[in-house]
């Protein structure tokens, strides 16, 4: 198959991305095999943990083969491309590739899965199924991040819900059924509009002679970049098709109207996943009611699927509508930032997992703000807009690391105290100083202390968003203060003051617990001190992505 210059296959011909995606599935097969030969559960646990090293290694191999500076045809080059015709009747290809926007998230996924496996160490019932579902979730998320054909992309998007649903449903807390159900139906119902939109796009593309679900080609058309065999932009193609159907006679002859509808269809699907206000209420329930491992993967990686979708679909497909509605998106982002912060504050005497869940809403609000800021109209050049996207990517990775760590530690705390409520705890630092120290680092990483990764993300988000949306950016800092207050009060409730709670003392972190959290926090520190290598991954692609906004629409 002839590939355009912006699609670069692997030089060594190895299907790296397929291997990456399949490796967790092989892990599941191995669990099945272990079950057949009645292998000891402990060996299974260790084996699965070791197996998560395989996707990790593969991701590192991919990282080493990835050239972050490669730019071609007005976009960051998509690399390690695998493209095979799949369902020819509807022009679906098996099309995988990776670029600077997806690689950081792939790396995040493979780093966080081992932590989720470790967090499942104490699971007593149906352990093999639990581990298998975690691997299945990993496979689905990896598939989502590397899929570049809408068909497969959407399958992974929906399919990732299945293991998450069963994890919450099967191993969660008292309200698990409500939480799991709400989470599943909400996300799925939200993506309905997007699914329909893509049917429409497919048909519209058929009118111009190139029916396709190719996300890269469609994104290029949306941005007005050249695609072999097609003339015009996605907006014009959609409008022409609407015109042909006669819809324009009813709704009016405004091309922007149709790209706006398209934008909102995409936005709602991803906004629910990203927990943008007011689509956020599933999140505290799902995170709080799920088992620790599910909370880790859901918060650390799955919520980023929404932001990634916006970067991959929303900005390139409908840049005009994204720019037009950027202030609205930013307003929702800011409300989410504030709502998340105050929601967390309302839980300082309540449920620790719910509190962490609300801070996630707050943090994802910044990511949304960055995306809106990158798109918004204004004089800002490529530097500011690319910084916003860079900041969003760093924030996603940083939030994944710190929130994953916090959920993990909350789980460890529960194992020791037997309670999720913060009230009635106190003074545990005296008996568990290392635990307090590690929790403190995770917490400061989460609230954006400089020197840890979260700050880098926030700084670049603010730097980028201020250039186009100064008012919303200024309002968003309320969240920085209030989240910090909520997290510090949480810490105070658990660890400080006299040891008069129940229990009065707990065991300190054991060596395996300590060493499983150290790599995560070290990564956060490393990124916080020197984020260059991470930002470098996405910088070129981000710069190309925002070029159209910097040029501005007439």
């Amino acid at each position: 198959m002839n590939l355009p210059e912006y699609l670069i296959p692997a030089a060594d011909g190895v299907p790296w991305l397929t291997l990456l995606m399949l490796s967790p599935l092989v892990g599941i097969a191995l669990i099945g095999l272990a079950w057949l030969i009645r292998l000891n559960e402990r060996i299974v646990k260790v084996g699965v943990l070791a197996w998560t090293g395989v996707p990790l290694l593969l991701a590192i191999m991919i990282w080493m083969r990835f050239d972050p500076q490669a730019v071609a045809g007005g976009q960051g080059a998509v690399q390690l491309v695998e493209r095979i015709p799949w369902i020819q009747a509807v022009q679906v290809d098996y099309f995988l590739g990776i670029d600077g926007l997806s690689l950081p998230l792939v790396l995040l996924t493979v780093v966080m899965t081992p932590l989720a496996i470790i967090a499942s160490w104490g699971v007593q019932e149906r352990l093999r199924a639990h581990l298998a579902l975690l691997l299945l979730l990993e496979a689905a998320m990896l598939g989502y991040f590397v899929a570049l054909d809408f068909f497969f992309f959407f399958i992974c998007w929906e399919f990732s819900l299945v293991p998450a649903f069963f994890l919450i449903q099967g191993w969660g807390r008292e309200q698990r059924r409500y939480a799991a159900f709400k989470f599943f139906v909400y996300t799925m119902a939200g993506s309905l509009g997007m699914l329909l939109l893509f049917q429409l796009i497919y048909l519209a593309m058929r009118q111009v002679g190139m029916p396709t679900f190719d996300l890269i080609a469609l994104g290029r058309l949306g941005q007005g970049l050249a695609v072999a065999g097609v003339e015009g932009t996605l907006r014009d193609i959609l409008f022409a098709y609407m015109d042909q159907l006669g819809v324009t006679d009813v709704l009016g002859r405004y091309p922007m109207l149709y790209s706006s509808i398209a934008m909102w269809a995409i936005f709602i699907a991803f906004a629910i996943k990203l927990a943008v206000w007011p689509f956020h209420t599933w999140l505290p329930d799902a995170y709080a009611e799920g088992p620790t491992a599910a909370s880790i993967l859901l918060s650390a990686v799955m919520s980023k699927m929404g932001a990634y979708g916006m970067l991959r679909l929303l900005l390139p497909f409908t840049p005009d509508a994204a720019q037009y509605f950027a202030p609205v998106l930013a307003a929702l982002a800011v409300v989410g930032v504030v709502a998340g912060a105050f929601g967390a504050l309302s839980q300082v005497n309540g449920d620790i997992k719910r509190l962490i869940g609300y801070t996630s809403i707050n943090h994802m609000g910044y990511v949304m703000l960055a995306i809106a800021g990158a798109a918004a109209a204004g004089e800002a050049g490529i530097d500011a807009r690319a910084s916003a996207i860079n900041g969003a990517l760093v924030q996603m990775v940083a939030h994944g690391l710190s929130t994953g760590a916090l959920f993990y530690l909350a789980g460890v705390l529960y194992e020791r105290t037997g309670r999720w409520e913060l009230s009635g705890l106190g003074g545990l630092r005296a008996s568990a100083p290392t635990f307090a120290g590690v929790m403190g680092i995770a917490l400061f990483a989460n609230l954006g202390l400089p020197g840890l990764a979260g700050f880098v993300g926030e700084f670049f988000i603010f730097r980028g968003a201020w250039a186009t949306l100064p008012l919303f950016t200024a309002l968003a800092v309320i969240g920085l203060v209030v989240t910090a207050l909520a997290l510090l009060l949480m810490f105070q409730r658990i660890f400080l003051g006299p040891a008069i709670g129940t229990p009065r003392t707990i065991a300190d972190l054991r060596a395996p617990e300590f060493w499983s959290i150290v790599p995560i926090l070290s990564l956060s520190l490393l990124i916080g001190v020197y984020p260059g290598p991470l930002i470098n991954l996405g910088n070129a692609a981000a710069g190309q992505l925002v070029a159209i906004f910097a040029r501005a629409f007439s």
């Binding site: 699914l195 530097d383 400089p450 984020p531």
Partner: protein
């Protein structure tokens, strides 16, 4: 010389290394090893900082790695400008679109002076802490924290851009949180730590906005006056010309946002409330963070970015007002406090107000000069108070309280009403403390006189209202310091029957009966006074600085006169006999009033303060710090709590209800669909269904709910709609 210039980055590295080694290696198990490791590395940093200062003072600079001699720069009259930096080393930190953000160090005279001051003060404080913290079980942790703190302060002083400056600034905020809350078993310490972190964070986020505002306008945040720097004159001129928000120019908007950071960190009104509470930390912490260094960081921020402030004088007016107001406001509160550390804390607020006001009237050299002299004599006073408290805590009456309430014992030991007559009991502390007292009161030839006089001179020349306000504040400074000095060191020792602090957090204790009996015991043990030599040595070093630091910038044309002004490449101030004479008279008058008012006060600890006897209402108001804490708790605190409750309610009562409603509606539709399916379309798929049932039973074992049934309807409906689109409308 080249060595010190080339390796300046090592100065913050040493304390950072100490902190890392103590935290990460088994050294922490040996308290003394940790203490001396931190102190020893701090001494190495001090030597390097002094070497660097010598190199910079002699005009040496590094250009592309080559040692060169800079021409001596004398400030010209007119626009403020920095001299050429001596060392600039940068590396690419992160790409930003088509450009990149660079990080590095930027050393000029101001940075070199800060580095020397911070390392000297911090070394003294490390030394003092070896004695002061000797008995504490978490001593290693303490040294790890203060070393990390010092590293951050040093890094901030040499930062080459606002981002690095901010990062170090926030790490100091973290250390401040950790150190204020060091005695975390006490609820009051935990609360004070959170209060300090959050209050300063309010300022910090505004500062962050200022930085991104500047970044957006200037396209960079590196210090420097070339075209890539933020002090590039044409850039500043444009920022001052173009209007941003609220009718302010960009320059004024940026400057005010930056200044908000100063208001938080340097505890200026209205964000001053955290600093007095921060006295919950161990006393060396108060000296290090809340007197000598961290609070000075706010002043240094304005000094560092001063060209932005001078670009549009609007911001300078605000700076001058806030500074002068805080100087006076805090001085009035200090008059009516009894806690020795709190008096010093409010004094710190007031003195920081002097520095800020000095910057506001354009007195850059005066502010920086006062920053340095104040760091020495206020560190001295805090450490001296530590020595006093340490000695007081050994007294039988206090030890009695210690049995049942450690916190109350400490607070009682800090109450100046319970002191008296310590001149003969703690002679070393007395003499060194007196040096600090005279320096703070502004008596010639102590350091504070020279620097405060320079501030007053600048105010006198540029803004007479600020001058008058600061003069009143200077008068009150002399009053409250005389009151404190007199009550602590003179008269009779009153601690045998102390005013006992009532701990609001104390649990109802079964040992409560000790309160009633503690008077009976003290005669058996008797007083026992002791000064630890490890604590005296740093006091003597700092006292010598309090006496002589004025030499750094004497306002005379002597060979060593104007040394700091020359180092900083600024215009040198001449002595104005009128202003200097007036300031001395004001200080002496304050001392006289303080002495006269308190010379016979407090024969016993329970006596009424003379001011309270004369004007009870005023005294209560001042003693309660104008009720600002209560005001904030009633307004902002309540608002925050209500907002949290309101958001939570909105989620639960509105949004979730809506979602659940939609969900139920969909179920309804699903049921209708099911009936249709069941009656009309059931026969065909039955065969298929029986095949899937086998696997379905397997799946069902995994979970218990019936949610997936509903989901099948949703998904099926979705698919049907999609098919409809594809094959009906699409055709």
């Amino acid at each position: 010389m080249a060595f010190f210039l080339q390796n300046a980055w090592l100065i913050p590295f040493w304390p950072l290394l100490a902190s890392a080694l103590i935290t990460l290696t088994p050294i922490r198990r040996i308290a003394m090893a940790s203490a001396w490791l931190a102190t020893g590395l701090m001494m190495i940093a001090t030597v390097m900082a002094l070497g660097l200062l010598a190199a910079v003072a002699n005009g040496w600079a590094l250009h592309d790695g080559q040692l060169v001699q800079l021409a001596v720069h004398h400030g010209e009259h007119g626009a403020f400008a920095f001299p050429e930096p001596n060392v600039v080393q940068r590396f690419v930190w992160a790409p930003t679109g088509e450009t990149a953000l660079q990080m590095g160090i930027y050393i000029d005279g101001a940075a070199a002076a800060m580095l020397a001051m911070v390392t000297i003060a911090s070394t003294c404080i490390h030394l003092f802490s070896i004695g002061y913290m000797a008995a504490h079980p978490r001593q290693s942790r303490f040294f790890s924290f203060i070393a990390l703190f010092t590293a951050a302060m040093l890094l901030m002083s040499m930062a080459d851009n606002l981002l690095l400056f901010f990062m170090a600034w926030e790490v100091m905020g973290l250390c401040s949180y950790l150190l204020i809350g060091f005695l975390y078993e006490r609820p009051s310490a935990a609360r004070a730590a959170v209060k300090a972190f959050i209050t300063t964070r309010v300022g910090d986020v505004l500062l962050l906005l200022g930085i991104v505002y500047l970044y957006a306008q200037a396209g960079g945040i590196s210090f420097g006056q070339d075209e890539h720097g933020i002090f590039f004159p044409p850039l500043l001129e444009r920022l001052a010309r173009e209007t941003g928000v609220l009718g302010l120019s960009h320059a004024a908007g940026i400057a005010l946002l930056l200044f908000a950071g100063t208001v938080g960190k340097s505890a200026q009104f209205p964000l001053h409330v955290w600093l007095p509470d921060a006295m919950e930390g161990p006393t060396p912490v108060s000296a290090l963070i809340h007197a000598a260094t961290m609070v000075a960081a706010g002043v240094f921020l304005v000094a560092r970015t001063f060209p932005i402030f001078t670009a549009d004088p609007t911001s300078l007016g605000v700076v001058a007002f806030i500074g002068a107001f805080t100087a006076l406001f805090a001085a009035t509160i200090a008059v009516a406090q009894f806690d020795i550390k709190r008096i010093l804390a409010y004094s710190t607020l007031s003195q920081l107000g002097f520095m800020v006001a000095a910057l506001g009237v354009g007195g850059w050299v005066a502010a920086m000069f006062h920053l340095i002299t104040h760091a020495f004599f206020k560190a001295l006073l805090f450490l001296g108070s530590g020595s006093i408290i340490h000695a007081m805590e050994q007294q039988p009456s206090i030890r009695q309280i210690h049995h049942y309430d450690e916190y109350a014992a400490q607070q009682t030991a800090q109450d100046i009403r319970n002191m008296g007559g310590l001149r003969t009991r703690l002679p070393w502390t007395f003499w060194t403390y007196t040096a600090g007292y005279l320096a703070l009161a502004g008596i010639v030839p102590f350091a504070g006189f020279w620097s405060k006089d320079e501030i007053l001179l600048d105010a006198f020349k540029h803004n007479i209202a600020v001058y008058v306000t600061l003069s009143v504040a200077a008068f009150l400074t002399a009053v409250y310091m005389t009151r404190q000095w007199w009550l602590v060191f003179f008269g009779e020792y009153r601690g045998a029957q102390p005013v006992v602090f009532v701990n609001p957090d104390a649990p109802v204790s079964e040992h409560g009966h000790h309160r009633d009996h503690h008077h009976d015991d003290h005669h058996e043990h008797g007083e026992h006074w002791h000064e630890d030599p490890r604590m005296i040595a740093p006091l003597v070093i700092l006292a010598s600085f309090a006496l002589t630091a004025g030499l750094l910038n004497l306002p005379f044309d002597l060979p060593f006169g104007h040394w700091l002004a020359t180092l900083w490449g600024q215009e040198a101030a001449k002595l104005d006999p009128l202003v200097a004479g007036l300031s001395l008279i004001i200080a002496l008058a304050g001392i006289a009033v303080g002495w006269y008012g308190y010379r016979q006060a407090f024969t016993s600890a329970t006596d009424t303060d003379p001011l309270a006897a004369r004007a009870p209402g005023l005294f209560t108001l001042l003693n309660a710090k104008y009720y600002i804490d209560e005001l904030y708790a009633a307004t902002l605190g309540q608002l925050t709590a209500s907002l949290a409750a309101a958001w939570s309610l909105l989620d639960r009562a509105v949004i979730d209800r809506l979602i659940d409603g939609i969900g139920r509606f969909t179920f309804g539709l699903g049921k209708v669909n099911f009936i249709i399916d069941d009656t009309l379309l059931n026969d065909g798929p039955d065969g298929l269904a029986s095949g899937t049932q086998g696997s379905g039973r397997q799946v069902r074992r995994l979970q218990t709910g019936k949610a997936q049934d509903y989901l099948i309807y949703v998904f099926g409906g979705l698919l049907a709609l999609a098919m409809f689109w594809l094959y009906v409308i699409g055709r």
